[in-house]
Every structure is written in structure tokens, then in C-alpha cells.
Symmetry: D2
Amino acid sequence: MDTAALRILVTGGTFDKSYDELEGRLLFKASHVPEMLRLGRSRLRVEVETLMLVDSLEMADTHRQRVLSACRGAPEERLIVTHGTDTLELTARVVGAAGLPKTIVLTGAMVPYTFGSSDGLFNLGSALAFAQTLPHGTWVAMNGRCFRWDDVRKNRASGVFEECGG
Amino acid sequence: MDTAALRILVTGGTFDKSYDELEGRLLFKASHVPEMLRLGRSRLRVEVETLMLVDSLEMADTHRQRVLSACRGAPEERLIVTHGTDTLELTARVVGAAGLPKTIVLTGAMVPYTFGSSDGLFNLGSALAFAQTLPHGTWVAMNGRCFRWDDVRKNRASGVFEECGG
Amino acid sequence: MDTAALRILVTGGTFDKSYDELEGRLLFKASHVPEMLRLGRSRLRVEVETLMLVDSLEMADTHRQRVLSACRGAPEERLIVTHGTDTLELTARVVGAAGLPKTIVLTGAMVPYTFGSSDGLFNLGSALAFAQTLPHGTWVAMNGRCFRWDDVRKNRASGVFEECGG
Amino acid sequence: MDTAALRILVTGGTFDKSYDELEGRLLFKASHVPEMLRLGRSRLRVEVETLMLVDSLEMADTHRQRVLSACRGAPEERLIVTHGTDTLELTARVVGAAGLPKTIVLTGAMVPYTFGSSDGLFNLGSALAFAQTLPHGTWVAMNGRCFRWDDVRKNRASGVFEECGG
């Protein structure tokens, strides 16, 4: 398989939260995605672009429009969007409904990368693979699974992503 | 996308090496794959089967035939084989040449999972995604990339997997 | 040197904060001190007693009196108190002013143990050593250094513990 | 307590072993002690001097004489020697028998620092505390405990340091 160029659009979320020693709380400093690619010894040609660093609960529609614009404007056909899990499904719907001729994979993490127990590296690895192999469309990759943008939700009680079902 | 059942066939390799405190050296105890799936909070239905726990430099042709037999006999259509990187390409050729009607992804790690700096979790995440999305055939997934079984080799000088080229 | 019996009194603080995946924030589950002693392969005879699990900013005088009571009532002569760093100096003064005939070492961490980048294991190791070797009195052990209870403060700007000076 | 200047003499051992990705084995690159002091947010004035980077099983008497010379020649009164655990007791005897008017603490680790499960940070924290508080003499600090140089041995069966007893 040819190694397609990929772009990772960073929006923040749990993925990228850091612990602030002086304030004693979680906040955003800079994205950990470049460090995670180094740890994974990634050999893909990847561009990392930080669009914003926000908690997805604080995302308004203007934020989602910026994500959509960045997806539309990116020169690459294969894109990953890192995102907080709380409203990830909403951004997936905004991007997915636009029907861009691209493969766009949204991913996140349940635990910040800076914790030893984070699922972030695992999710990033699978998102990069899904982005290289899936057809055009918008997808959500979490915890080994991949969902269509119009059939995914986060189960608030269990914290697990699942199909909407019905 | 439906969540296909997957089987992970463990053969050992760097992936699974542990540090023995009494002997002061690296050796095999038990596979770390189940723990890695928990850390990745994997929601896939996965069977983990340990075929052997060996350094891939110690693999003889009989070992590779056992891997091939296990691939053939597994009830699942989608398989992952964890393997040492030194002779991973040789096993890929034995399995690939058999032309089984299955998607088989071999993967490994440059650094043992028990090290903080391991690429194992990243590779396992991407292997699981490749195994769900690629067509029948035998593939090698390393460091974000995926190679066909008959066009991959480990560059001994750089330690990087690459196409055979030419 | 004889291995004196030691008691560790847990009060919470940054040391013991965990990340809650469902809520997306830091909170207390159970103390990590037993796990830290296992990681350090501690061979000391140590009793771990959880008095409370609170953020030290939420400690009132009644909390500090409970810490003092526990220090007074403990059968061991050598004690460690794990504590949040924000008001650690206040509890040190309450305990220190009581002048108990014991060696009492308060310690904490700038970053939760569950983060890869925590100073907790280092501080716990040094607190255990200080508690075994220092004379009776109340001490604060942070980041390799040890302070008297009546000559220590946390510098709010730098986050560093230092003498009061003057 | 005043913060005495301290010198850490590095000799290698398990403490400092790194994993070589190309060779697939443990070897020495550079000492991890400076990184460990950063992680512990150590506020001590410490000099780190690498005397050698060897496995303690490969230490000959000339190596131990170099350690003794470095202890004697160091301007600081308080010293730590990081050392492999297999022959740590032998070096302790060479240094201890010299009776230098200094406090010298030998320490090591059962698991390399680069492993997530290392006891190294814990041992370094306690060694720094013991070096600040113990009287002149040569000591061995391991896993929370501290031993006199002439009454310590590594139990080969259990891997644990203990008094010689008898």
C-alpha cells in the first residue's frame, strides 16, 4: 500500500490535556500529537495542524464550522481530527453532512495522554490505519472500533462509543 | 462498520519481552497483549491465543509452519500475528504464499511494551484497524504503515520497515 | 540500621488524585500509596492508614486536628503524612506545635502519581528515609529537601517549597 | 536542615540500562540520573559525575579502586554511588574499609529506570535523604532500607538486600 500523505487536525479534548503543577488542575498547553507520533515511531508523512485547544463541552457551532472549513481546505485527501469525546458525535455530524470527497476520521481518548493509563496512543494508531484504508466519508474511531458519522453516540452512563441502533 | 470478530495469534518477539529482576535480562513470561487491549479500552470481540513465546531470531521453519496452521485453522476471517521484527518478513512470506481467504496482519514492536517508550500500543491499535478494513491477503503493519507480504523488509541499518523496491 | 516500623497516614492531596473517565476530571478513588510501595519494592514494615482523601484546599481545622490525633494515637514512633501541597505548611504547624515525642514527616507531590511525570515516588522514597533517620520532631520532605515544621512555606509563584527565611 | 551539596557518582548497573532498538538488547547509552532528578523535581544542589557505565558483574578490582578514588577526591562530604546490584556489596566493602570522613550511600535498582515498573526513582529519592542525614560512613540504600557496608548482602535467591546476620 502506498503511504498517503495525511493531515492531523488538532482541536484539543482529553487527548491533549496536561496537568498544571501550579494550579493543580488539567489544562491545555500544547498538543501531544507530535510526541505520540514519535513514540509510535510513525513513518507516515503527516502534517499536524492545531486548529484550537478546547474542551469539547465548550465547543460552539463556530468551532465546528472551523473544523469543517479546515477539512475542506486541507490539501490532503486523508484527515484525522483529534477531539474531546463529549461532543465528538456532534462535530462528526457537521463534517459528515458536508459530504466532502475525503476520508475523515475523528478520534479522541478517554484518559489524557500524559497519564500512564491513557488509551490515546492506541486510538491514534488505529485512526491512522482507518484513515489510510477507509473510503471517502466521515468516521469515528474509538477503542479499536470504527463508526459511521451518522450512526454513533457516546453512551453517557458507560462512557463507551456505540451505534445509535434502532 | 460491523465489528468483526478477530483473533490475535501471539508468537512473542520484542512486543512481549519482560525484564527478569533476578537474572537481570529480558525474557518471556506471558504475553502483554491482553493488558494492552485493556489499556486501549478495546471494545472489539477479540480472541487472544498464544502459539509460542520466542525471539524471532530463534524461529525455525517448524515455527513458521505452526503459525500458518494456526491461521488456517482459526475460525475467524480476520487475524493478527504478533511477531519479533527480525524475521517478521520471513513468516509473512510463508503465510502470504499460502493464499488463505483471510485478512492476516503481522505486527511487532521495536521496543518491549514494558518499557515506557514502546511503540507496541500504537502498532497494536493500527494492526487492529488494518485487520478490519483490508481485503484478504497477508500484510505487515509497522509504525503507522502497512505493507504487502511480498514487498516488505526490515532495513538492518536503520531498523525501519520498508518496501523491497526495485 | 534497624528497620523501624513506620506508619503512613494518608490524607489525599495531589499525590492520590485519579482521573475519572466518565466525568473527565481529577478526583479521589483510593490511595496509591500501597501501589507505590510495591513499585519501590519497599522492604520496610509499613502500616498504611487512610485518614481522609481530600484536596488540601478543602481542609478545615477539624481535619488538621484529626491528623494530629492520629499522629498522637499511632503506636509507631516514626510517621509519614501524605498531604496536598497547598496547605501542607499549615498542618505541619499544627502537628509540629504539639511537640510529640515522634519523628513525623509530611510529604506530597506536585503532580499526581497516576501521571507518568509525577514526583510522588521520589518524594515517598525520600520521606521514608528521612522518617527513619531524623530525630523527633515534625518535618516537611519535598523534592529531595527536608524542612523544619516552623521554617517552611510553599512559594505560590514558583510552586517550590523553601525556608521562610528572615 | 541545611541543604548540603551532594555528588552523585554514576557507575552504571541496572539503574542506567537502556533498550537498544537495533540490537534488541539492553546496553548503556548515557546515565538517566539527570532525568530522574528532573522528574523528582529535586531542589538539591547536586553534581552528577559519570565514572563508568558498566554492568556490575563486569567490575574488576580496578573499577572499585576508581570508585574509591573518586569518593576520596570529591570536594563534597556527602556522596551517592549508583551501582549494579550484583556486586554492590563488594564495592561497599572496598569503599567502607577506607574509612573516609564522608557519608557515602551506594544505591541501585532491580529494574532499569527506562521500564515503567522501575524502583529506581524511589531508591534515588531515599538515597538522597539518607546521604543528607546519616553520619560519616558507607551505607547501602535499597528498597526503603539502609544497611551498614559491613553488614549487607544481596540474597541471590530472592533478589533482596538483607543483613548478613549471624
